[in-house]
């Protein structure tokens, strides 16, 4: 190795040789590490510290209350309902998005020339900001002026019309539908990539042996997508556990907490009730839950890791 060293300006008789090569990693990494320390690591630790306080965030009257907030959290039905909603969101995201995404991927795989333009159009919802989508669908679901109820009315299903976001029975489902609407194309593109990596020679050979298209799909292509399914499920579950924007915009977690998530509950505690301490407890608990579930999922999916 040719070592290019420079003598530091201050190197006196002692011969302090400061190797630029040695310092290089420090210089290259310093900006990234500094930013991550300030905006990720410190807030993480600080959040746990705040979780031990009773504080409205304004004055200096923060009071150390030990684990009181954590005890409160453990028996806080609202928090556990929010966590349950996160789990429901995760489960239904997977159950609804995966099958539709696979079907669409297969459709586009067979659509020939039209598939490119369809893929481009399908992908559009992913470019929208969640606020824009949230506001759009708030009006889409509107009980009086919303096009959804108008559409149901038009096709003679008027009796199905509901106050979608205002009814505790439907709010969470209505919001999950929008999440699926936005993300199905994402998983579709993922499955398309999986299908494209299926060797054409194999399906040709199977066809020569008399296998039908459906046999090839069920017995060969679907098993080939196993790795893609795992990736998709991990992404979808982790995304669902930390979901916030769209639901906050559409329902604010309501009505009566029917669509509350851990993140919206945290937000309400901090910025509406000004309970910074307890809000930080909720945030910290959410962090623990996400990390636990994510590491279980990642370990589980790594054990069987195949190509994506």
């Amino acid at each position: 190795m040719t070592d290019i060293s420079t003598r530091s300006a201050g190197g006196g008789a002692g011969g302090t040789v400061l190797s630029l090569r040695k310092l290089a990693p420090v210089i290259f990494l310093a900006p990234a590490i500094l930013l991550l320390a300030v905006y990720l690591l410190y807030p993480l630790v600080e959040s746990f510290r705040l979780s031990l306080l009773d504080w409205n965030g304004l004055g200096t009257d923060a009071r150390f209350v030990g684990l009181d907030n954590w005890k409160k959290l453990a028996s806080d039905a609202l928090f556990w309902r929010a966590a349950r909603n996160n789990i429901l969101l995760a489960v239904f995201s997977v159950l609804i998005q995966m099958p539709i995404a696979v079907v669409l991927a297969v459709v586009l795989d067979n659509a020939g020339r039209g598939s490119r333009i369809l893929k481009i159009l399908y992908f559009l919802p992913l470019l929208m900001s969640s606020v824009a989508l949230g506001v759009l669908f708030k009006y889409f679901y509107d009980v009086n002026f919303g096009p959804l109820n108008a559409l149901l009315d038009y096709v003679g299903l008027g009796y199905l019309a509901q106050d979608w976001l205002g009814d505790t029975r439907y709010a969470l489902g209505a919001v999950i539908a929008v999440v699926c609407w936005q993300y199905i194309p994402f998983y579709m593109v993922l499955f398309m990539a999986g299908l494209a990596s299926f060797p054409a020679e194999i399906s040709e050979a199977a066809k020569l042996d008399g296998a039908s298209e459906s046999t090839i799909f069920w017995k060969m292509k679907l098993p080939h997508l196993r790795g893609t399914f795992r990736t998709a499920i991990v992404l979808s579950v982790i995304g669902a556990l930390r979901y916030f924007d769209l639901i906050y915009v559409m329902t604010g977690g309501g009505p009566e907490g029917a669509s509350e998530l851990m993140a919206t509950y945290m937000y309400r505690n901090v910025f509406s009730s000004f309970q910074l301490g307890y809000g930080s407890t909720v945030a910290s608990a959410m962090f623990i839950i996400v990390i636990l579930i994510a590491s279980v999922l990642l370990r589980f999916s790594k054990r069987y890791e195949t190509e994506i």
Binding site: Y39, Y122, L127, M128, A132, L136, Y154, W181, S212
Partner: protein
């Protein structure tokens, strides 16, 4: 055996039918949005949602564009441009160190940074809010740059490190024999050769930042400092029951990315996929 021609026939029908059904599902909300934006408020109350607008009415567009909309747009462009440039520079520097310089803790540090990808940003929200107030940056668009750059770093470092590991070693060895130090090698060889990796990083993070909501919501509060996603939020409060005006704002805020998409669909789709997959 006998089912084969039948299933082929159903396939021939099912493929376009399913394709068109999903096209309808995707486009109906957008149609509602654009159609309504051309209606007057009067019209939106008196006629049914699905009747076409009486005329190609631009009144809402003129109304919105002559308001503070352009201020939001300007703030968004500024925040996203500065943040994306910083992410590209800072992440590529770190990636170069991880990919090519041998030092103690290289792998441990890389693992730690990459692990940052699964941290839900919500846990950082309150401390960053307090910190921003202390720094005197509260209610300034610049308050967003720190959080945006930092939250983009883990995925960007990961993508760029993977990319730089593929760059052939011969190039830098030749440069080193010519007496180039690590800084020259980074600027003259790795940065120019990392183009595709950098563009993935820029596209993915640029779109995420352009649409970012929660930091913008918490760290800024005035019209003059807020970014585009907040325009939708603020106008919603301001216009209350003027649905056409609000949907005009929604249309206008979505337009820049849709226009960009029209020019480079493949790049944007691939960038979004790469970013989310690694993250």
């Amino acid at each position: 055996m006998a089912s084969s021609p039948v299933s082929r026939a159903t396939g021939r029908v099912a493929v376009p039918v399913l394709g068109l059904i999903w096209l309808a599902v995707t486009t109906v909300p957008f149609l509602f949005m654009v159609m309504t934006s051309f209606k007057t408020q009067q019209e939106s109350f008196s006629s049914s949602v699905w009747t076409l607008p009486e005329a190609f009415n631009l009144v809402n567009y003129i109304d919105v564009l002559s308001g503070s909309f352009l201020t939001y747009l300007k703030n968004s462009v500024m925040v996203v441009a500065i943040s994306v440039l910083l992410v590209m520079l800072i992440a590529s520097m770190a990636a170069y160190a991880f990919a090519r310089i041998r030092f103690r803790f290289n792998e441990a540090l890389f693992g730690l940074i990459v692990a940052g990808m699964i941290v839900p940003i919500h846990i950082t929200l309150v401390p960053i809010y307090l910190m921003t107030r202390h720094m005197g940056l509260y209610d300034s668009p610049f308050a967003l740059i720190g959080p945006y750059v930092a939250t983009s770093l883990p995925i960007s470092v990961f993508i760029l490190t993977e990319f730089m590991r593929q760059i052939p070693k011969e190039l830098e060895e030749a440069a080193r024999l010519d007496g180039c130090g690590p800084f020259t090698i980074y600027f003259k060889i790795f940065l120019p050769l990392s183009g595709p990796g950098l563009s993935t990083v820029a596209i993915y993070n640029g779109i995420m930042m352009w649409n970012e909501f929660i930091f913008a919501y918490v760290l800024t509060s005035s019209t003059s400092t807020r970014t585009l996603p907040m325009a939708v939020w603020d106008f919603q409060g301001q216009y209350a029951s003027n649905i056409p005006a609000i949907l005009t704002v929604v249309t206008l805020t979505s337009l820049p990315l849709i226009v960009a998409y029209a020019f480079g669909q493949e790049k944007i789709v691939n960038g979004m996929m790469a970013g989310s997959l690694k993250g």
